[in-house]
Symmetry: C3
Subunit: 346 residues, 3 copies
């Protein structure tokens, strides 16, 4: 089960055009396209007559015509034309999903449209700040439940084994973690003091010698992560001090959209506080990130299979405190949402 009253990432904005396209979010098929004026429209992708996907039909101005019998739907999902003239049946409508374009992403609201408020979309404060550069993101299909990736993004420890050649460094194995619950999700973080920077970061930070490093791993409901990496010259970091002038910060934004219970579409990009216009740097960092995320994918796809077919109970470790807290609270939110739905249905 999924949290329905939430914004999920549906696509990159560049993926949605005047061509009808089918996407699947929370196991629901959606026909997504742009109106003549460029607005985003998302309709339940099944003609109510014989359930042919509307995305197999034709776009006609700002309406969609079914490819079997020409039933035509407007942007609100209402049938406005049906063959054989006569009355259009009142049930001849499809759900219209609230959509919104932000940060180069298409966001979709999967629950009650009356509750959709774009102010609730995940906030990215530095997105438009010209002093920050962007590592162009990408997307990949994971053959696992989205919560396994949420676990992963509340788990700074895994980098020591999964990302040995990129994000791992002394201290990533054992430095204790701090877990904090916020109104929006869970944060797991730690400062690792006075060690040699990890290979991925060593190439980009603008000071030499050892560093102090913050790993800030945060996932917000329903499944959006901010992974903040901070590197300062050794001796200048830590929770209390003001940031040193040479501080390097990378904010990695990660959005997990459940395709269904065992598949996830995973989107990401990063913002960095240095050399905003350095395209070569952006390209290098994007490529390194993609490679590291492929390492996660390989592991998580196997974990999905292993947890599904397990022959004996699994065990939890202290490093799982953050992920388990996130799962518990999210499940409570899902339960509550379904309780309200049942009340309203009665």
């Amino acid at each position: 089960m999924f949290l329905k009253n939430a914004w999920y990432v549906a696509a990159w904005t560049s993926e949605i055009t005047r061509d009808l396209r089918q996407i699947t979010v929370l196991d629901e098929k959606i026909c997504i396209f742009r109106t003549e004026s460029g607005d985003l429209i998302g309709l339940e992708d099944a003609c109510p007559h014989r359930k042919l996907p509307l995305s197999r039909g034709r776009i006609r101005g700002d309406t969609v015509e079914c490819g079997y019998h020409g039933l035509t739907f407007d942007c609100a999902g209402q049938c406005v034309r049906a063959p054989g003239a006569g009355r259009i049946p009142s049930e001849a409508r499809v759900h219209a999903y609230p959509l919104c374009e932000k940060y180069g992403l298409v966001w979709i609201w999967m629950g009650n449209p009356a509750l959709a408020d774009t102010a609730d979309i995940f906030d990215i404060p530095n997105f438009d700040d010209p002093s920050w550069g962007i590592n162009r993101g990408s997307a990949m299909e994971l053959e696992c439940n989205y919560l396994l990736m949420c676990d992963n993004l509340l788990d700074p420890t895994h980098v020591a084994w999964v990302h040995e050649s990129s994000f791992a460094a002394a201290g990533t194995k054992d430095t204790p973690l701090r877990v904090t619950k916020t109104d929006e999700g869970v944060v797991v973080h730690r400062w690792i003091m006075d060690h040699e920077p990890a290979p991925f970061y060593k190439k980009v930070i603008c000071f030499s010698g050892n560093c102090d490093r913050l790993q800030h791993y945060e996932v917000r409901y329903p499944g959006h992560a901010l992974i903040r990496a901070v590197f300062t010259p050794a001796g200048t970091g830590g929770p209390d001090g003001p940031l040193h002038d040479d501080t390097f910060i990378m904010d990695s934004y990660n959005f997990m959209t459940p395709t269904n219970a065992h598949q996830t579409r995973y989107y990401w990009f990063q913002l960095r506080n240095i050399r905003p216009d350095d395209a070569e740097l952006s390209a290098m960092m994007s490529a390194d990130v993609q490679k590291a995320f492929e390492e996660d994918r390989a592991v998580l796809n196997e974990v999905q299979k292993g947890m599904t077919d397990k022959r004996s109970p699994h065990i939890d470790l202290p490093i799982d405190a953050g992920p388990l807290r996130f799962r518990r609270q999210l499940q409570a939110m899902i339960n509550e949402e379904q309780q309200v739905d049942r009340q309203m249905a009665e």
Copy 2:
């Protein structure tokens, strides 16, 4: 569930030779071949011993020998030889299906052999009339239940959207339909008066200017269709009048054989009342028909998925009156057949 006491098309006659071949009809596997004198034989394709398909064995004169232990079956399905000599167990027999060759097709009777009467095979009056030409047919696999194709062939309206570049013309969207129930099935028809001929027909009719057009869509139990198209010069058509000398008629014969509940083998050919010996015309029309039927296949394969996984109820429209009537009557026949089977079993 299927109607068992009925003739279905099993193959083109040219497909069946002295090589053992497996076909699947109504989810039953059948070993089909010809005797030395060319007669058609169809046996249940599973040796009663260890269920190896007989079609994996060897033909020996007019018997079939299992490829595992040599159990040998005659054309009536009786085991006539088993290894280790001794008595042949009385249960060592397989079902033998009544078969018949007609119209270049192999017909198979799937029910009680005692009820098989070749006089009940679908009638094609003009098949041997030398003044009619034939558009050589073909066959394709549909990934859908055969009833979805029956629906399609009782639905003249779909041509306006599915066959835009071939069969569609003014009036195919909206001209009202007439539904008639016959003893053998259902007919849906309409005359569309005084309009420009559809592209497919414009190339072959022998008059110019506008036309009157009859769409006669008929499906007979269990799943055989005659689609008659009549084109006359505008002003000469309609239900009452005698046919004009320039009238063009094409009878499209369509046979839907359920492979199982979600797959269908679909056979067809056409007869036309013009230029019977024009091979080039035949080839062109066959190619155009094949292309149009691929359009149906693409839609129906998606409808099968859409109706199977639907998230909300589907709705029916007035244009569905014919298909629904056909389904209701066929279901009544199936229920009755099963009731008799249960009575006999008691």
Copy 3:
């Protein structure tokens, strides 16, 4: 269900190295590798934390480190290191399977390790006898339950139809069979007297003219077969006499390891009492055997499907006496084993 307290073939010894490798036996996934000193180790292939297969991790000396969080297991399956230091949870262990190297094969004990005794491994008396030659064996995947291959190897009759061009000869169809139950399994055998040798053997026996032939088909629990073929000059064979000097003997060893309920890994090789060092002869016989076993595979894969989807009951024949006896006794052993397991669990 499978017999657990038994030795199964897990691999050819040459297949297991210092690279972690996953195999599946009795539907259990096992991480198999060699220690630095070359000993064989087999561990349950799922880290108890998040069930990532250990075979996706890294070998570190004689321990295996999980690729997700570095949990490290020794050769007994005990976790000896976990991230975040602290106490290692007592449940952090995986099953370690007893393994043994014999006859070029890796043997694995799937039941209670306390009961594993390498003296119980299938005995091959002539394996190290320099006067016997070996036809190098191979392995193949069967898409069927292993018992179908056990049936096949207690069934000398099938060679007449399945191996027409290799093992079949006059008498293989009809000569009566003798069935014997031993402490270890079942033997089906017969002498076929005074006939022309089968093609496969004709090429290798060192006498000319007709032969007397013993087919000794023996399968021992849980699924290991010895197929002994004896050829003597006609008139010198039979159950009672001493063996003629020109007697040719081939012992075919066959080991069926259930991958799961519908897949089997099938291993084999042969010993022969002639020309032990003739590499060309060995290669020719190996190739012929492989070809014949492919014939079995084709049949058994189809029998698996036929028996699984059968529409009517199958029947047994007198030739099935041996296979049925083997299955009955094996099932009794499995039932007894499970009964003890339940008793111990109470």
